[in-house]
């Protein structure tokens, strides 16, 4: 009988090993994934008890938790909500969240893996649960300058530190007050959200990184010029035929320069001059010579056709596929189906500014725990070597010239070399323009790259242009950085 008993013992042991295994799988291996399941309300209830970590911008608190008496224990507050809404997003214990609040939730709520030891310490020491502080790369001064410069216009500004990819400003107007969405009164939150969602000006959408994408117009010429110089076949002095109008091949479409005449006197025009005067016809010719594959490759190296995680996910800027010559000609000055976010156009300038190397954009500097220990820090990362140093230098010279004495002079700053390019993009026959500026400064030692988009003509009607509306906004942002 004892032989059978041994086997029964083995069976019992096997049964228990199965249970040890199954509980280990659930409680250790799959625990994190199960916590993230949207049907798991425990994490939500936990979030009530946790003093959510603050979000800081250069020492300024832009989101914090304040103790209340209600069942949610803490109330999220945004001291300058409208200014930072595109960065922070909002957090509501029952109605969802957005922005950094959503995408850094693990750290803010104290449930990330790196906070595991902290949670053990906490249990041993009997401390209240507390999330980590997230420090964003935003510079409050630059952010304020960008927000104020946009004013009541419908648009967005992104400012980037070219050498690191750190986002110094990310403003989007019209904006919203995240405090109204963080309220614990579900009914008022739902109606406030519905009102914002129904607003035709789409204040909930962060125009700086996503939203209804705008064609970049002439600001895209920076990408085309960089591709041309990088190919080695062109220099700033390369010349192009200079007609007053150009009928695109196999098409009825006719391209004009914005002046409706030739690009300066002369049978031919140089690349540098075409940039300075922002002429479309030479760029259409250049684009068709390079071909859509070369343009797409250059655009993708700057980040087109690619979304980013800041960690907040961004929209994807587009350089289309499968183009014929006529379409390629139109894309060379940022029309047809080219679409870009201000973040993307800022990356283009940042890449030129950083000697052709595009750094991956980031919105988060550092995460620090309750005892100020660093839980995570973000190191600068190279996104792409977009163009050669020489090509970048050539494009920079042309862009500086464009601001100094050309069609982008709205961003000129006394005593500083500003490199820049405007854009006034058409959205259709009777549609308002999208007004652009992208550039960086100082040209010889860039501290900031900026992109501005203003939608709806900047409320100025048909007489608006990127240089009139967008360039002065960029100028104020650049000044805010350089005056520090």
């Amino acid at each position: 009988m004892n032989r059978e008993l041994k086997r029964v013992s083995v069976l019992v042991l096997a049964m228990f090993i199965a249970l040890f295994g199954s509980t280990t799988i659930i409680q250790a291996v799959q625990a994190d994934a199960l916590r993230l399941d949207s049907r798991n309300t425990r994490a939500l209830y936990d979030s009530y008890d946790t003093e959510r970590g603050p979000i800081l911008a250069g020492g300024t608190v832009i989101a914090q938790s304040v103790r209340t008496g209600d069942r949610f224990v803490f109330q999220r507050q945004y001291p300058e909500g409208e200014l930072y809404a595109p960065v922070t997003g909002f957090f509501n214990p029952t109605q969802g969240s957005a922005g950094i609040e959503q995408y850094m939730n693990d750290y803010l709520s104290g449930t990330s893996n790196t906070q595991f030891l902290d949670s053990i310490n906490r249990i041993v020491a009997g401390q209240a649960p507390k999330g980590a502080a997230v420090e964003v790369t935003i510079d409050p001064v630059v952010q304020k300058a960008a927000f104020d410069a946009l004013g009541d216009r419908q648009g967005a500004v992104v400012a980037i530190e070219p050498s690191t990819g750190r986002i110094l400003a990310m403003a989007s107007t019209p904006t919203y007050d995240p405090n109204t969405l963080a309220s614990h009164d579900s009914q008022s939150v739902i109606s406030a959200y519905a009102a914002l969602d129904d607003d035709p000006l789409t204040p909930l959408i962060n125009r700086a990184t996503s939203g209804n994408m705008n064609p970049p117009g002439s600001s895209f010429k920076v990408v085309v010029a960089a591709a041309a110089l990088d190919s080695g076949k062109y220099t700033p002095e390369s010349t192009f035929a200079n007609p007053a109008s150009l009928t695109l091949p196999n098409s009825s479409a006719v391209v004009y320069n914005w002046t409706r005449t030739t690009c300066g006197p002369g049978e031919t025009v140089t690349l540098a001059e075409a940039i300075r005067q922002s002429c479309n016809i030479p760029f259409a010719e250049l684009g068709m010579e390079l071909g859509d594959d070369a343009l797409r490759e250059a655009a993708e190296k700057f980040g087109f056709n690619n979304g980013f995680e800041l960690p907040t996910p961004t929209g994807t800027s587009v350089y289309p596929r499968g183009l014929d010559d006529a379409q390629t000609g139109l894309t060379a000055f940022g029309q047809y189906e080219v679409r870009a976010t201000p973040l993307q156009m800022a990356l283009v300038s940042a890449g030129i500014a950083n000697k052709g190397t595009v750094m991956a954009p980031t919105l988060v500097d550092r995460v620090t725990g309750r005892n100020l220990e660093e839980l995570k820090s973000f190191e600068p990362q190279v996104l792409n070597e977009a163009v050669s140093e020489d090509a970048a230098a050539g494009v920079t010279t042309m862009m500086v010239n464009g601001v100094e004495v050309g069609q982008s002079n709205g961003a000129r700053i006394e005593g500083v070399d500003v490199a820049g390019k405007t854009g006034t993009a058409q959205n259709g026959e009777d549609e308002p323009y999208s007004l652009w500026f992208t550039g960086f400064a100082p040209a010889n030692n860039p501290e900031v790259a900026v992109a501005v988009v203003v939608e709806n003509d900047g409320n100025l009607g048909r007489h608006s242009s990127g240089n009139i509306v967008a360039a002065p906004i960029a100028k104020k942002v650049i000044e805010a950085v350089l005056n520090k």
Binding site: F16, L19, T23, I26
Partner: protein, 482 residues
């Protein structure tokens, strides 16, 4: 059925030297042996006492931690009730000193700590749901614990020798079948969440007779198999490398199989059926030593379960909930996997070290005090706590199987193994069901889950195991013959 050595031991204690049999004086070592026997019981019982005090301390601290964690204040009422239970358990211990001094010292402390943890967790969920007094499951659980421990004391005193049970083998069999049929009797049968396994009188007492039936069945199986094992194991045809039994010897297994299937079909209780059938198959194997019994048993149950899954909607639903628990349609379906998935979320919420007693949210899981008590404990005590509890169960079961190894009479061996195996199987069915090793079925998690019948049954098992273990250490081999 005299018991010489015991008479000797108690005789020495009681000073009734004159009653000693004459042969004692022939052996030189008799005095030494007597002295050793005098010390031994004290040693075992003292060890048990130390562990019991530790177990009671764990239980009291658990209740205090639950109160501190959930309400931040201490309410001594429940602590007093817990102290009452501790006193009862210590009473059982004192009884053992007199009536079963050589009984296994681990069984009682393990049962105590499991019962106490269960009470603490049930109480914790009562706090979360804001119920108290007789509406609270914890109050009822404590009352039932008291009844169960008293029942164990009565059993250990009344059943002076487990071999008495052998005489009433068939009576126990009939009793078990009767108990199983009771819920089907109109008037007293009750249906709870689809399973017709309860009986009740008015609205007052409800009881699951199946819990008691499992003990009666274990006694019946042990007695029956000891009587018939020769015919079951010796004859048969050899096929492949195994010896298969004769067709007519398959009778008993077919009867038990039919009984299990009847429970599945008429009472909608897959867990109980699996428990009985598993119990019988293992006891049959242990008594006959034929691997073929296991194959036949597993095969028959597999075929039965397969057809049940095809034809009975509730069985099919259980399988679907098990295999596809996280799919949205199964999750949202009526009678779907919502409960199971909530239990798993609870376990995941606990992680490695748990939220701490009183600080998790086990009340979010339906049936968190009964079917999902392990998920509740896992949430607040973590994987570490679950391992500790499973370890305690494993230790309990291994003590039972140890009695099987050490026992001198086949009936006692079989009974001990059978009883221990019911605990193991029940833990496996319930914890495995909650953690998706197998489809979830409605049994109780021994000692932990809220439910009076289960507590009474499991404490009777403790008493019987204590009784059998006592006889191993006391008596020399005494073969029981039919």
């Amino acid at each position: 059925m005299t018991n010489n050595s015991r008479t000797r031991a108690t005789g020495a204690v009681g000073g009734r030297v004159a009653e000693r049999p004459a042969e004692e004086f022939k052996a030189d070592t008799a005095v030494l042996r007597t002295m050793r026997k005098l010390r031994l019981p004290l040693k075992l019982r003292n060890r048990e006492l130390a562990l019991l005090i530790f177990a009671c301390a764990i239980n009291s601290v658990s209740i205090l931690l639950v109160q501190l964690g959930a309400t931040g204040a201490i309410d001594l009422d429940l602590v007093y009730l817990g102290a009452g239970l501790s006193a009862l358990v210590l009473g059982l211990h004192v009884c053992l000193r007199y009536v079963a001094p050589q009984a296994d010292p681990l069984l009682l402390p393990i049962a105590t700590v499991l019962n106490g943890l269960g009470v603490a967790m049930i109480y914790r969920i009562d706090l979360a749901e804001g119920v108290s007094g007789w509406a609270a499951a914890s109050t009822r659980q404590i009352t039932w614990s008291a009844i169960a421990i008293l029942a164990a004391i009565v059993i250990i005193i009344v059943v002076k020798n487990h071999r008495v049970l052998f005489r009433y083998t068939y009576l126990f069999g009939a009793f078990a079948f009767l108990l199983l049929l009771l819920p089907l009797v109109p008037g007293i049968g009750r249906e709870v969440s689809g399973a017709r396994v309860w009986i009740g009188i008015g609205n007052f007492v409800s009881f699951q007779p199946g819990e008691i039936a499992k003990i009666a069945l274990a006694v019946f199986f042990a007695g029956y198999l000891v009587r018939t094992r020769d015919s079951l194991s010796m004859v048969g045809k050899k096929f492949l490398w195994m010896q298969f039994p004769r067709l007519r010897d398959l009778g008993p297994i077919i009867v038990v199989w039919a009984l299990s299937m009847a429970i599945i079909v008429f009472q909608h209780d897959m867990g109980t059926a699996l428990l009985f059938f598993g119990l019988f198959t293992v006891m049959l194997y242990v008594s006959t030593g034929r691997l073929s019994w296991i194959l036949i048993g597993v095969g028959m149950f597999g075929v039965g379960a397969f057809f049940a899954a095809q034809t009975l909607t509730y069985v099919e639903g259980r399988f679907r909930n098990w295999l596809d628990a996280f799919s949205p349609t199964v999750y949202d379906a009526t009678g779907g996997s919502y409960q199971l998935v909530q239990g798993i979320f609870g376990l995941a919420h606990g992680g490695l070290i748990g939220t701490g007693l009183g600080q998790g949210r086990p009340e979010l899981t339906p049936l968190s005090q009964s079917d999902y008590i392990m998920a509740s404990l896992g949430e607040e005590l973590g994987l570490a706590g679950i391992f500790a509890i499973l370890g305690l169960y494993l230790l309990f079961v291994s003590r039972g199987i140890r009695i099987g190894f050490r026992g001198q009479d086949d009936f006692g061996k079989l009974l001990a193994v059978g009883l221990a195996f019911t605990i193991a199987l029940q833990v496996f069915i319930m914890v495995g069901g909650v953690t998706r090793v197998i489809p979830l079925t409605g049994l109780t998690t021994p000692f932990l889950a809220a439910g009076g019948s289960s507590l009474v049954a499991n404490w009777i098992i403790v008493a019987l195991l204590l009784r059998v273990s006592d006889s191993i250490r006391t008596g020399p081999a005494q073969e029981v013959s039919s």
